[in-house]
């Protein structure tokens, strides 16, 4: 049961068009723990563009390893965190930042959720302040009769 499925999957992967095959094993971390901590801190702010929901610190993709190496070298050259992050943004764009900057093109991204919340709360409070159904509903004699019959039949378990 399982084996044909695995085979079919493997075949599908082989035949799939495209595919940016880039993932590899992560290389061992360098010796200097202080440097390495800074490398990881900066890498944690940068998105891996190969596996887009991971940071460069988390990703095992080869490009992420290269970029960590790049970060490490730049720290050794004495560059500041800001300079290193700017270097990445210049090449890969704002998208490389795991925390997107607050600017005109990202206004909706940052304020969208607040906007939705505000809209929801407004609707909620309006409804609460002006309920649509006001007071008791007057039933006609016929309706009252029917209601009584329905309730009675339910109680005796007939209907």
């Amino acid at each position: 049961m399982a084996e044909p499925l695995v085979r079919a999957l493997a075949l599908a992967m082989l035949l799939a068009p495209g595919g940016w095959a880039l993932a590899r094993e992560a290389p061992p971390a360098a010796q200097d723990p202080v440097l390495e901590q800074r490398v990881m801190a900066i890498s944690g702010e940068l998105r891996c563009l190969v596996c887009q929901n991971q940071t460069i610190a988390d990703s095992n993709a080869e490009l992420a390893a290269d970029l960590r190496k790049e970060v490490r070298e730049k720290i050794r050259q004495g560059q500041s965190d800001r300079e290193i992050i700017d270097f990445m943004v210049e090449r890969y764009g704002d998208f490389v930042l795991y925390r997107p900057p607050f600017k005109a093109t990202t206004l909706l991204l940052w304020l969208g959720p607040l906007l939705l919340l505000a809209t929801g709360l407004t609707i909620l409070f309006r409804r609460l302040a002006h309920p649509r159904v006001k007071g008791d509903v007057e039933l006609t004699a016929d309706e009252r009769d029917r209601a009584r019959r329905l309730l009675a039949s339910k109680e005796t378990g007939e209907g």
């Binding site: 068009p17 495209g18 595919g19 940016w20 095959a21 880039l22 563009l49 190969v50 887009q52 080869e62 490009l63 290269d66 970029l67 790049e70 943004v89 210049e90 090449r91 890969y92 764009g93 704002d94 998208f95």
Partner: protein, 175 residues
């Protein structure tokens, strides 16, 4: 009936929004390099490590830089398109052989045909980083002043060449 109209309307709008989202390719990140000078590099050539190739050699010409590697699956798919483009003579194509091994890169060109005037050999991928490469193959159109005018991430197709690359090359060639 009327009270269902609003929720159904909102639902339909949401479906439309998410539907459009599904058709977009999250890998197509707009490159900040478009409209900027092509980053400087000087690399040994793939065929002759004694000679170098630099983007400066190309000043005054409209050209295409294509990032490729023998290990890259999509490059295999793209290759015939590049061969056709090279044969048409519309624009010279230069290769950046990215994180490859020399014998493998050379073997690939020998087996599959060589659309490149020259391929630069970027063994450690440093030039790739300067060009913001993250999904080989990538293709750049660079104008006479050495400014990047177009970038394609992922394989070129016949349609893209016809609809994007060739018109742009023609327009840049006039300017």
């Amino acid at each position: 009936m009327n009270r269902f109209l609003l929720p159904v309307g909102i639902f339909a709008a949401l479906v439309a929004l998410l539907g459009v989202g599904l058709t977009l390719n999250p890998r197509e990140v707009p490159s900040p390099l478009i409209g900027k000078a092509a980053p400087h590099f000087e690399l040994p050539q793939l065929h002759d490590s004694a000679k170098t190739f630099s983007e400066k050699d190309m000043l005054g010409k409209v050209w295409v830089l294509n990032v490729w590697a023998s290990w890259c699956v999509s490059c295999r798919e793209e290759h015939p398109v590049l061969l056709d483009l090279a044969k048409s003579g519309a624009v010279p194509i230069y290769g950046l052989n990215y994180k490859d091994r020399r014998p493998e890169g050379l073997g690939w060109l020998k087996n599959m045909g060589d659309p490149y005037q020259i391929s630069a050999f970027d063994a450690d991928g440093r030039v790739g980083i300067d060009y913001g490469v993250y999904g080989v193959p990538e293709t750049y159109v660079i104008d006479k002043r050495g400014v990047i005018r177009y970038k394609r991430i992922g394989p070129l197709t016949t349609e893209i060449v016809k609809e994007k690359v060739l018109p742009l090359v023609q327009e840049l060639g006039r300017g």
